[in-house]
Amino acid sequence: MPIPLDAPEVLDREFLLVRAKLLEIAASLDRIGRAEGQVEGDRRLQLIHDALDVLRQGESDRAEQIQMICSLSYDEQWQEKFDLLPR
C-alpha cells in the first residue's frame, strides 16, 4: 500500500519526535549509570544495546528486528515436550 506522504514530509513530521525519544533513551542510560550498583551482566541492558545497533545499522524492518531481539526463542519441539502432539 502506498504511503500518502513522501519521505521529506515524514521526516519533517517525525524529526522532533525522534529527537525527543533519543534523548529519553540517552537520559535513561545516564540515569542507570549514575545510580549505585552494577548492571553490567543484566540481560536487559544487552537487549537495549543490541536494539540500538539495529537503529544504527538496519535498513528496513527495524521495528520487527527489535521485537525479535526482545523475544524468547521458539522451540519447534514444544508439542513433543509437552506431550501435546496433534492426534
Binding site: 500500500m1 504511503i3 525479535m68 524468547l72 526463542s73 501435546l84
Partner: protein, 278 residues
Amino acid sequence: MYYIDPHIHMVSRTTDDYETLARMGCVAMSEPAFWAGFDRGSAESFHDYFRQLTDFERQRAGQFGLQHYTWLCINAKEAENVSLSREVIAMIPEFLDTPGVLGIGEIGLNKNTKNEATIFLEHLELAVKYDQQILIHTPHLEDKYTGTRMILDMLCDDTRLDRSRVLVDHVEEHTIRSVLEEGFWAGMTLYPVSKCTPERAVDMIEMHGAERLLVNSAGDWGPSKPTAVPDFIIAMRRRGHPESLIRKVVYDNPREFFSQSENFDFAPPELDEAEANL
C-alpha cells in the same frame, strides 16, 4: 466517523466511559472474557461474571445507544488451574445462545505453559462442537513471539477450524505476517507501553494492507485508553489515508468478522450521504 471497538473490557470501565465512547462515534463493542486482576476461586465466580457480560454490560451500554457483544471462556492466566478451567468450560454452553454472545474468547496463552496449551486445545474442542467463532489472546512482551507460534501450530493442526472465523489478537510487527499468511484475522491492540501505538498500527496497515485487520483499545483496569480507536482514526487521517480505508478498518472489517456469528444482531446506524458513499 462511526466505529466498532472489537476488543474492550467494559466491566473495568465506568458508565462515564460508555458515554464518552458514544460521543466519540463508537456504535458497538465486543468484550472478551478476561482476567480480573486476581485469580477467582470457583466456577461460580465465572458464572456470575458471564451473567455480568451477557446481561448487565449489555444493558449499561444500551443506555447510550451502544450495542454490546461478548465472548466467553476462562482466560489464559487462570487456565493454569486445569481443574477449575474444565469446570468453567463445562458451564459455557448454557450461555452460548444468549443474545450478544459471539463465540469463545479470549482464549490463548500467557506464559506458554503445558497447562495453558492443554486448556487452549479444550476450548478449541468446545468451539468446534458448538460451531463458535474464536477470539485469541497472544502473550505480551518477550513471550509473544513464541506464544503466537505455538497458537498458530495448534490452530493449523486442527483441520476442522474455519480460519476466517478465528481472530488472533494483539499482533505486533513480528507476529502479524504469520497470522495473516495462515488465513486468520488479526487484531492490533492500541495499548501504551506493552503493545502497539496508533502510529505503529498505521505502519502495519501500510505494510500489510487492510484485509482481515482490526484495531482495538482493549481498554481494561490497567493503564489503557478506551478511546484509542479514535486516536488511530486521527493518525490515519494525519498520514493522508482516505476515509474509505479508515472506515474499512474501524467499521467494515469488524462488522464483516462478527457477522459470521448467529448472535451478531447489529443494527447499523444511519450514515449520512457523504459517509455512505465512501
